[in-house]
C-alpha cells in the first residue's frame, strides 16, 4: 500500500444469506487514474460501491483512504467523495434546479447550478418537476453534480445507463478532464470508454452458495 494511492481496498468481501457475494476484492486507485469495474449482472458491483463508501460494512477486509482506514478519517474521506449511485437520488416532485440545490454543497451559487444544467443539456428544463422528464434526462440531472462538485474522488455506478450517445460522450469528456486534473474515478459500466484508456478490474460473483 503506497501513500500515492488515494484508495486501497484490501481483501474485502461481503456475506449475504450465509454466502459470499463475490470473490474477495483487492484494488488500488491513485491520483489521475480511472478504474473500470466490470462484472456480470448480480455480481455485486453496486454492493462493492456501498462497501467502499462505508454505507455497508464489509464482512472481512478493509478500505483505506490515503493509507488510513476509512473509519479513522471518515470526515476527510467523505468530503473528498462524490458518489452517484444506480438510484439517482433525484426527487420527482422537485425541479432539476431544486434537486441540484439540495444535493450540492450549501455554498453553491445559482449561477453554478444553472451552468451545470446547461452543460448537461437541460437548458429550459430547470423549472419542470423531474417526474415529467425522461429516464435519460433524470440521469443527466444526477450527473450535473459532476460539474458542480469539487470532490477529487468520484464513484460512478453505471453512469451511462439510459444516456444517449451525446450524453455518454459528454460524461466521458467530464471524466477525462477530471483525471487530467489529478482526480480519481471508480466506475462500473457494461460498455467501454471510447477515448480514455482505463485500467479494468473484474469482479467475479459466486454463482452458487457454499
Amino acid at each position: 500500500m503506497s501513500a500515492e494511492n488515494i484508495l486501497t481496498a484490501e481483501n474485502i468481501a461481503f456475506e449475504r444469506n450465509d454466502s459470499l457475494l463475490f470473490h474477495p476484492v483487492d484494488l488500488a486507485l491513485s491520483r489521475g487514474e480511472a478504474l473500470h469495474i466490470e462484472g456480470s449482472n448480480g455480481s455485486g458491483k453496486t454492493t462493492l460501491f456501498r462497501l467502499l463508501t462505508g454505507v455497508l460494512q464489509p464482512s472481512c477486509g478493509s478500505v483505506y483512504f490515503r493509507g488510513k482506514p476509512i473509519e479513522q478519517c471518515r470526515y476527510d474521506y467523505l468530503s473528498e467523495l462524490l458518489f452517484i449511485g444506480h438510484q439517482s437520488a433525484v426527487k420527482g416532485m422537485l425541479s432539476a434546479q431544486e434537486n441540484l440545490r439540495w444535493m450540492s454543497p450549501p455554498a453553491t451559487s445559482s449561477e453554478e447550478i444553472a451552468f451545470a444544467l446547461t452543460s448537461v443539456g437541460l437548458e429550459g428544463y430547470a423549472d419542470i418537476p423531474c417526474h415529467n422528464l425522461s429516464a435519460g434526462q433524470h440521469r443527466r440531472v444526477a450527473l450535473a453534480r459532476l460539474i458542480i462538485s469539487k470532490a477529487s474522488l468520484w464513484y460512478l455506478d453505471e453512469p451511462f445507463a439510459a444516456l444517449d450517445k451525446q450524453g455518454i460522450a459528454f460524461i466521458e469528456s467530464c471524466m477525462q478532464a477530471h483525471i487530467e486534473q489529478g482526480g480519481a474515478i471508480l466506475f462500473s459500466s457494461h460498455q467501454d470508454l471510447a477515448k480514455t484508456a482505463v485500467r479494468k478490474y473484474s469482479i467475479v460473483g459466486y454463482q452458487e452458495a457454499f
Binding site: T53, V55, S79, G85, H86, Q87, S88, K91, W102, P106
Partner: protein, 225 residues
C-alpha cells in the same frame, strides 16, 4: 469545522417542506383523518355534551397519536427508494443534523396543523373554553415528541416491505407516556387544576427526544440500509 459538521439541517428541512408543499393532498390526509374520526365519536358513543366533554381529552389525544403514526411511516421510505438516503448517509456531516431537519419538517407539516385545528374538535366535544389553550399547547409539544419516537420506529422498519403494523406495535408503547401526560394536561384544565406541571413534563420529554432520538435514528438508518 463544527459549522460544517452541523450542516444539513437547513437543507433537509427546506427540502422536506418543499416536498410536502408539492404533495399537498398527502399532507391533508392525517388532518382529515383526525377530523373525520373525531366526528365519529359523538355518533358512536353519545351526543350528550357532558359525556363528550368527559371523553374529550383522551379521544383527542388518541386521534392525534394515530394521525401522527399514520404519516410517520413514509418519513424515510421514499428517500430509501430513490437513493437520497444513501446520499444522506455518505455526507461528511453528522447524520443527526439532516435527521433533525427531516423530523422538524414532519412536525411542522403534521403535528403543528393538528394542534392548530384541535380547538375546532374541542368545540365539537363541548370542551370548556379554559381547556382550549392547554390542549393546543400540549398537542404542539406532544406531537413533536411523537414525531421523534415514530421516526426511530420508521428507521428500524425501513427495509421491511410491509412494516406498517410492526411499526405501530413498536412505537405504541413508547407513545404511552406522551398520551398520559398530554391528556392529563387537558383533564387538569377541565377540572380547574394547575396544568403547567404536566405540560412541563411534555416539554422535558421533547428535550430528551430531541437530544437522543436523532442518534438512535442515525444508528437505525445505518443498520437498515
Amino acid at each position: 469545522m463544527s459549522a460544517v459538521l452541523a450542516g444539513g439541517f437547513k437543507a433537509y428541512l427546506y427540502r422536506d417542506l418543499l416536498l410536502a408543499y408539492r404533495c399537498r393532498s398527502d399532507l391533508a390526509r392525517p388532518l382529515i383523518f383526525f377530523l373525520v374520526v373525531s366526528t365519529l365519536v359523538p355518533l358512536g358513543v353519545a351526543p350528550e355534551p357532558a359525556r363528550l366533554a368527559a371523553l374529550a381529552p383522551g379521544i383527542i389525544w388518541i386521534m392525534a397519536l394515530l394521525a401522527s403514526l399514520l404519516s410517520i411511516e413514509s418519513l424515510f421510505s421514499s428517500d430509501f427508494q430513490d437513493g437520497s438516503l444513501e446520499q444522506m448517509l455518505i455526507a461528511p456531516n453528522l447524520l443527526a443534523m439532516p435527521i433533525l431537519g427531516k423530523v422538524t419538517a414532519h412536525w411542522l407539516v403534521i403535528g403543528l396543523p393538528l394542534a392548530l385545528i384541535s380547538p375546532l374538535i374541542g368545540i365539537m366535544f363541548s370542551l370548556p373554553a379554559v381547556a382550549m389553550l392547554p390542549m393546543l399547547l400540549s398537542l404542539a409539544l406532544g406531537t413533536a415528541v411523537l414525531s421523534f419516537i415514530g421516526a426511530v420506529g420508521a428507521a428500524l422498519t425501513l427495509p421491511l416491505r410491509k412494516g406498517g403494523v410492526l411499526l405501530a406495535l413498536l412505537v405504541m408503547p413508547l407513545y404511552m407516556p406522551v398520551l398520559i401526560f398530554g391528556s392529563a394536561t387537558i383533564q387538569s384544565a377541565v377540572d380547574g387544576l394547575a396544568w403547567s406541571g404536566s405540560l412541563a413534563v411534555l416539554g422535558a420529554f421533547l428535550a430528551i427526544a430531541m437530544a437522543l432520538c436523532p442518534l438512535a435514528i442515525a444508528a437505525a438508518l445505518r443498520l437498515s440500509s
